[in-house]
């Protein structure tokens, strides 16, 4: 395997224009002769499928949800960044680029990030034209707010439901193409394998989740927009059905997996209440605009009513440690600081595993109606879950797994190491380095789908020859048999433990050993524990029901099986990256004040892992990262 990032030559600000001009085009009359298979219908998948359909390609969209509108992009709350500089506060393409590279702790590819910043404004234009009801000022123009890791207000938002509104915009465009007949939608259909013919991605094998039918689909290119793997931790802010199956199975077919250890723990989530917990709920980072994070200075105050603790006895630790950015430091830093506070025994709540996020001062300064207009739905959600009123009592928050920066390795064209397999959005690794800034995931998903993939996929189709294969080709038969065999093997499981039970055990191993803080001994132990759990899963899982029917136990078991394999690579990558950077914090590498200590000489590269076959150690490939425009420096938000 050879990694060629295909970054165009020339000054960074001209690369994309030059590349677009040099990319071959498909004649309008020929576009309908090409079929593109898009897996996933979130922001990246829906926007790509709609745009490709508009161009005239034949597109198939596969989603495990009952409607494309339900993909997990819908849950993004706070907003979407763009360097429009409408507030006149000094923003620019260059500043968004700089903030993103720095926020990612210098582990992202400069050229991709610059393109993202360049195209960010077009996304807002597109969404407004679709009818996305962004928040507006009284003059009728668009409003902005601030997010972590930036000192400008560049975040566009639609109350606390920005992801929902952006996804509905993309979904409506997708529905328009479905009506026009350019896009065929396959709901309740799960991707189970990639078909590679003569080195090219030419198809997918799916399972109809209602009838259980295993099906073959032939195309000229495959797009995976299947999101991240946060649910490997069992508890995360991801939706219940988010999984690693598509990217993991593509990895086993030859796509390199990059930087799996770059996982993001979000600082502001509602704390865990018990063993029954099925997921964690995020409270948008935008709350840190007006909320102040604190813990009691004295341990004995941690069970007291917070209202009775005087100002002088409170430690606003983010404002104290990071005066320049205060409560708006990037997510990795805020999360680690919360963990430290709780580890020191100053955490609040019955478990002692939470910190306060307090709005009292903002309510006094701005009045409750203003706070309600900004965050009303988030406050309601908090009250619904905790039965506490955050207008009267500070919220209690704790970090939770939220996003994964790692993903399948892609080049500048968003193509993986398998020709014809494109990977968009959270499923790829490309833009966020070791830590993603708030309001940048929506930006990347839509940028990839609306403005990058439609060009680069065309370029791939125009510059490659395609053999006249059919879905009767041996590669299809072999992949279908493999999928069918996997389903039958799971259904023969007559052990004692359910897939969900195994998943919980896996999550605990990862959260303890590969969560917010990691070390070599813990990771080594985790790798052994995961292998043992995987072996037990093979012997002792129980999967009731049949294959030719709607069977949610079977769906869960398939996904957990893949998580059990993937988890080992995640820990292996974390063990090999013997430095701290962004969301990857190795306890062996920190400054005296507890800040992450990077090692640029040894680790300024993308770790792309090649699958070497079952039971064999994966092979590490390195893509060196060159920082020509933003100079390598220790991140400081002080």
């Amino acid at each position: 395997m050879k990694l060629d990032s295909k970054i165009p030559s020339g000054p960074i600000q001209d690369k994309w224009e030059k590349h677009k001009f040099e990319t071959k085009l498909v004649n309008p009359a020929n576009k309908r002769k090409y079929r593109i298979l898009v897996v996933g219908s979130g922001l990246a998948g829906a926007s790509a499928a709609a745009s490709l359909g508009e161009l005239g390609y034949q597109v198939d969209v596969f989603t495990h949800n009952d409607s494309p509108r339900r993909a997990h992009s819908i849950a993004a709350q706070g907003g979407i960044n763009a360097s429009k500089n409408y507030p006149n506060d000094g923003d620019s393409v260059w500043r968004l680029f700089y903030d993103t590279v720095k926020g990612g702790d210098f582990r992202a590819r400069e050229a991709n990030v610059y393109r993202l910043a360049q195209l960010s404004g077009n996304i807002i234009d597109q969404c407004v034209a679709q009818g996305v009801p962004f928040a507006r000022e009284y003059g009728g123009l668009l409003d902005n707010r601030s997010f972590g890791g930036a000192q400008v207000s560049r975040t566009f938002y639609a109350r606390g439901q920005t992801g929902q509104q952006l996804l509905l915009g993309a979904y409506q465009s997708l529905m328009r193409q479905a009506a026009a007949g350019t896009v065929a939608i396959h709901p309740r259909t799960e991707f189970l394998d990639l078909v590679v013919v003569d080195g090219q991605a030419r198809g997918v094998i799916t399972r109809d989740l209602v009838t259980g039918k295993i099906e073959r689909h032939l195309g000229h290119a495959v797009v995976l927009a299947t999101g991240g793997y946060g649910n490997v931790f069992y508890l995360s802010t991801n939706a219940r059905n988010c999984n690693v199956t598509a990217t993991w199975r593509a990895h086993k077919r030859g796509a390199a997996f990059a930087n799996p250890c770059f996982t993001q723990i979000h600082p502001t989530c509602i704390p865990v209440t018990g063993d029954h917990q099925s997921k964690l709920t995020l409270m948008s980072e935008s709350l840190r605009n007006d909320g102040r994070v604190w813990i009691p200075k004295k341990k004995e105050d941690r069970s007291k009513d917070p209202a009775t603790i005087p100002e002088g006895d409170r430690d606003y630790y983010l404002e104290r440690r990071y005066p320049a950015f205060g409560n708006l430091v990037p997510r990795d830093i805020a999360s680690r600081a919360a963990k430290q506070a709780c580890d020191e025994g100053k955490g609040v709540g019955s478990s002692g595993m939470s910190v306060y996020l307090d709005f009292a001062e903002s309510i006094q300064r701005l009045g409750q109606p203003v706070i309600a207009e900004r965050y009303g739905n988030l406050f309601e959600m908090y009250e619904r879950i905790t039965a506490e009123n955050p207008y009267q009592k500070p919220m209690r928050i704790y970090p939770a797994v939220h996003y994964t920066m790692g993903g399948l390795w892609v080049d500048y064209n968003l193509m993986s190491t398998i020709p014809g397999l494109f990977v968009l959005g959270e499923a790829n690794f490309s833009d966020h380095g070791a830590n993603r800034l708030g309001a940048s995931a929506l930006m990347q998903g839509l940028c990839d789908g609306y403005f990058v993939a439609p060009y680069t996929i065309g370029g791939y189709l125009a510059s490659n020859a395609f053999k006249g294969v059919t879905s009767e080709h041996d590669a299809f038969r072999e992949a279908e048999q493999a999928v069918d065999g996997g389903v039958k093997r799971l259904l023969s499981g007559r052990g004692k433990r359910t897939a969900d039970d195994f998943h919980r055990s896996l999550g605990k191993i990862l959260w303890d050993k590969c969560g917010m803080a990691r070390n070599a001994a813990g990771l080594t132990q985790a790798i052994g524990d995961i292998a043992a759990l995987r072996a037990e899963f093979r012997e002792n899982v129980i999967v009731p029901g049949e294959g030719g029917d709607l069977n949610q136990a079977l769906e869960r078991a398939g996904r957990v099986g893949d998580f059990l394999e993937f988890a080992e690579l995640l820990c292996l990558d974390a063990l090999h990256r013997d430095e701290s950077c962004g969301g990857h914090f190795r306890e062996e590498h920190q400054y005296e004040d507890g800040e992450a200590k990077r090692n640029d000489e040894a680790f300024a590269y993308v770790a792309a892992w090649e699958h070497a076959g079952a039971g064999k150690a994966p092979i590490l490939h390195k893509e060196a990262l060159a920082f020509e425009n933003v100079h390598l420096a220790t991140r400081s938000y002080k």
């Binding site: 077009n122 009818g131 009728g140 939706a239 219940r240 959600m381």
Partner: protein
């Protein structure tokens, strides 16, 4: 920590749309009031699976009240007893210990049962396909600030746009009408200048499709608004009716 509860879940079980369904009682003990209603179903399913029995099939995904995947008629009310709350955000503290809780799928001709508590809501997608969009191609948009929108209109459009497409409005309606769902989309796009070009065509086509899918007529009883987890107002139905009339009068 509050004491745990005992409840009985009386759940509709149905293998598929061609077979007859029936209620089955499942007693559960040691239920934490802090756990969500769907987590209680998870606990039950885990017990059933461990015994080699078929788990109760139900739809759920985000579990934070926004994706619209979860449904369930709980003791006679879509999404259960809490106002402005989806089933996934309903907690066991809303029930008393010892209660028998009846759990059914959405009941509507246009939402056929797939299995147990899962129904097919693809009719909603087809209604959106008939015109619930602005016909703008990728790349052809003018600058986002080139067209100011009065804040009040933008806010009202957002009130309508937050529909999650769960179908509770249909499930609550005696006539299984989809008026609130369709009205929310028609109003959202009619309130914004971006949606004006296709305003007349949109409302006519979406209503035609709604009728074709087998949804009933509006009862004017507002049961839909009462159960809508996003609190979408029936005023939008009045707005849609005006849009429809206007399209008819001005052709």
């Amino acid at each position: 920590m509050s004491a745990t509860m005992n409840v009985t879940l009386r759940i509709w079980r149905q293998k598929n749309r061609h077979t007859k369904g029936r209620f089955v009682d499942y007693p559960l003990s040691d239920v934490s009031p802090e756990q969500s209603f769907l987590e209680t179903l998870d606990v039950l399913n885990n017990q059933l699976e461990a015994r080699g029995e078929d788990p109760v099939a139900f739809d759920s995904d985000c579990r934070e009240g926004i994706c619209g995947t979860c449904s369930l008629h709980i003791s006679g009310t879509p999404h259960g007893p809490m106002k402005l709350t989806t089933t996934c955000q309903l907690h066991m503290r809303s029930f008393r210990s010892g209660a028998t809780i009846t759990v059914e799928p959405w009941r509507a001709r246009a939402f056929p049962i797939v299995k147990d508590l899962i129904v097919d809501r693809s009719a909603f997608d087809r209604i959106v396909q008939s015109g619930g969009f602005v016909s703008v191609k990728t790349g052809s948009a003018p600058d986002a600030n080139s067209l100011p929108v009065p804040k009040a209109n933008a806010e009202l459009a957002m009130d309508a746009a937050q529909c999650i497409g769960c179908g509770a409005c249909v499930a609550a309606c005696k006539n299984a009408s989809a008026m609130l769902f369709v009205a929310a989309k028609v109003s959202h796009l009619a309130l914004l200048p971006q949606g004006h070009a296709e305003r007349k065509e949109r409302v006519v086509k979406m209503i035609a499709r709604m009728d074709q899918e087998g949804f009933g007529s509006c009862t004017n009883l507002s049961a839909c608004e009462a159960v809508c987890p996003k609190g979408i107002s029936v005023n939008f139905i009045a707005r849609m009716n005006r849009e429809y009339l206007r399209a008819g009068l001005t052709g």
